[in-house]
C-alpha cells in the first residue's frame, strides 16, 4: 500500500475543501443577515436552525418530509422501471427507436410545470396525478441514458446467451442488466435530485401536505425563516439519501468494470 492510499483512507478526497466551502457560505450568510435592516427578509443562520429544531421537536417536520419522501419514492420507482424498459426497447430495436424518438424529444423539452398542470386537470387533484406528473418529467431522461447504455452492450455475450439458449429472464438478469448497472445507478442519482425538486412544485400547486405545501403556506405569509428552515431540512434529508444509499450502490455497480481494467 503506498502513501497516497493511506491518505485517502484517513480523509476522503475533497472533505476539507467541502467543509471550508460550507463554512464560508455560512459566514457570508451571517454577515449579510447582520447588514440588512429587515431581519424578516434574511434571518440569521441560528434563527433558521432554531426554527428547524422547533419543527423537528413538534413532529411537523417528520410528517410533511415523510409525505414528500413517499411521493419521491413512488415517482422515482415508476420513472426508473418505465424509463429502463423504454430505454432497453429503444436501444435494442431500431424501429422502436425511430418511432418513439420524436415523442421522447418532445417529452424532454416540455416544461415540468406544463406536465404538472395538465396532469392535475386531466387526472384530478389527487395523489395519482401528482406521482404520474413527477414520473413523466423524469422518464425521458432515464430512457435516454439506458438507451445509450443498451447500444453499447457487448454483442459477444449476447451471442453466447443465444448459443446456450438462455431464457429471456436469465438474459436480462445475468447478461443485460449487469452491463447497464452503471447507467442505471447514474440515472438514479441524477434522477433523485431532479425528482424531489419537481415533487415540491407538485405539492405547492395541488397537495395539502408535504414540504411543497408548507412552502406554499409560508410564501403566503412571506415567512423567509420558515421557507429556509423547510428547504434546508429537506436538502439535508436528500443529501443523506445520496451519500448513504445511492453513492455506495453506484460504487458497487461500477466495481467489476474498474477491477476488470
Amino acid at each position: 500500500m503506498n502513501k497516497a492510499e493511506v491518505k485517502t483512507r484517513v480523509t476522503p478526497p475533497g472533505l476539507v475543501p467541502g467543509v471550508v466551502s460550507i463554512a464560508l457560505m455560512l459566514l457570508v450568510w451571517t454577515v449579510a443577515s447582520q447588514m440588512t435592516d429587515r431581519p424578516q427578509t434574511l434571518p440569521a443562520p441560528w434563527q433558521v436552525a432554531a426554527r428547524i429544531y422547533a419543527l423537528a421537536a413538534s413532529g411537523e417536520l417528520w410528517f410533511h418530509a415523510g409525505m414528500t419522501l413517499y411521493r419521491v419514492a413512488c415517482s422515482f420507482a415508476l420513472a426508473m422501471v418505465v424509463g429502463t424498459a423504454l430505454g432497453l426497447w429503444m436501444g435494442r430495436s431500431r424501429s422502436a427507436d425511430q418511432w418513439l424518438n420524436p415523442a421522447l424529444i418532445i417529452m424532454l423539452n416540455v416544461p415540468a410545470l406544463v406536465v404538472i398542470v395538465l396532469s392535475y386537470i386531466w387526472i384530478g387533484l389527487n395523489e395519482t396525478a401528482a406521482i404520474i406528473a413527477v414520473a413523466l418529467n423524469k422518464i425521458p431522461v432515464v430512457t435516454v441514458m439506458i438507451r445509450e447504455g443498451t447500444r453499447a452492450l457487448r454483442p459477444d455475450l449476447d451471442e453466447m446467451a443465444a448459443a446456450f439458449r438462455m431464457s429471456r429472464m436469465d438474459r436480462l438478469r445475468h447478461v443485460v442488466l449487469p452491463q447497464l448497472a452503471p447507467q442505471i445507478a447514474a440515472s438514479a442519482r441524477a434522477g433523485i435530485s431532479l425528482i424531489w425538486k419537481i415533487v415540491l412544485v407538485v405539492e405547492f400547486l395541488g397537495r395539502s401536505n408535504g414540504v411543497g405545501f408548507k412552502l406554499h403556506m409560508l410564501f403566503s405569509s412571506f415567512d423567509v425563516a420558515g421557507v429556509l428552515a423547510w428547504a434546508l431540512a429537506f436538502v439535508a434529508v436528500m443529501l443523506a439519501i445520496d451519500l448513504l444509499i445511492l453513492r455506495p450502490w453506484e460504487a458497487r455497480a461500477n466495481r467489476w468494470r474498474s477491477d476488470a481494467a
Binding site: D156, L157, E159, M160, A161, A162, A163, F164, M166, D170, H174, V175, P178, W256, D259, A260
Partner: protein, 195 residues
C-alpha cells in the same frame, strides 16, 4: 445434424454454398481455410446464430459452441458462469471444473483468472451443456504454443470421454490433425467444400 446450405449472401454477393455436411455423435470434422473465407459464418449458421440463409438444418442434436474468445460473464464467478448458461447444478459445474483442471477456482471471477484458465472454463461450460456436438470457432488461435497444445489434448480427452462429436473451424491443419478431425477444405467463390 444435417446441414443442407443452398447459399448465404450478403446483399447481392453470395459468399457461401452450396454446402452439405452431416455429423453425428463421435464424429469429428474440421473446416479448414484461410481467414475471410466464411468458416465462422458457416459455424454460426450451424449454431443457429445466423438465421439469414437459404437451405435447412435438420436433426435434434444438442449443440454447444466455443467461441474465439472465452466470452465469460465478468460479473459472475466461475461456477455461475457454468450454471447460468447451461442450467446444470452447482455440483455438476464443480465436477466439470475439476475435469478441466480448475478444481480450486469455484469462486474466482473471470478477471482473476489467466486467459488459459478462462479458456478451460469456457470448455467446462460447453461440456456442462451435455452437447451431442461441440462447435469450436478458432478456439486455440490466441494461445501460445504450449497452452494451445495442452488445450487441444484436454479437448480431445473430453470429447472421447463424453462421446460428443466435433465441428472445428480453424486455419491451422495441425489443430485438425491433433484432434483427429477429418479435414474439409473451404475455398472458391462462393466458398464450397473442395475435393
Amino acid at each position: 445434424m444435417q446441414l443442407d446450405l443452398i447459399g448465404k449472401s450478403y446483399g447481392p454477393n453470395q459468399v457461401l454454398g452450396p454446402i452439405r455436411l452431416s455429423l453425428t455423435r463421435g464424429q469429428r470434422l474440421a473446416i479448414l481455410g484461410p481467414s475471410g473465407m466464411g468458416k465462422s459464418t458457416l459455424l454460426r449458421i450451424v449454431a443457429g446464430l445466423d438465421p439469414q440463409f437459404s437451405g435447412s438444418i435438420t436433426g435434434d442434436d444438442r449443440l454447444a459452441l466455443i467461441f474465439q474468445e472465452p466470452t465469460l460473464l465478468p460479473w459472475r464467478n466461475a461456477t455461475q458462469n457454468i450454471t447460468i448458461p447451461t442450467g446444470c447444478s452447482v455440483a455438476q459445474a464443480h465436477e466439470w471444473m475439476a475435469r478441466v483442471g480448475l478444481p480450486a477456482h469455484h469462486n474466482h471471477f473471470p478477471r482473476q483468472m489467466s486467459l488459459g484458465q478462462q479458456r478451460r472454463l469456457a470448455l467446462a461450460r460447453a461440456f456442462a451443456a451435455q452437447p451431442d456436438i461441440l462447435l469450436m470457432d478458432e478456439p486455440f488461435a490466441s494461445l501460445d504454443g504450449e497452452t494451445a497444445a495442452r488445450m487441444i489434448a484436454l479437448t480431445s480427452e473430453l470429447l472421447s470421454g463424453t462421446g460428443a462429436g466435433l465441428l472445428l473451424v480453424t486455419h491451422d491443419p495441425n489443430e485438425a490433425r491433433a484432434l483427429e478431425a477429418r479435414p474439409l477444405r473451404l475455398g472458391g467463390n462462393p466458398a464450397q467444400i473442395q475435393g
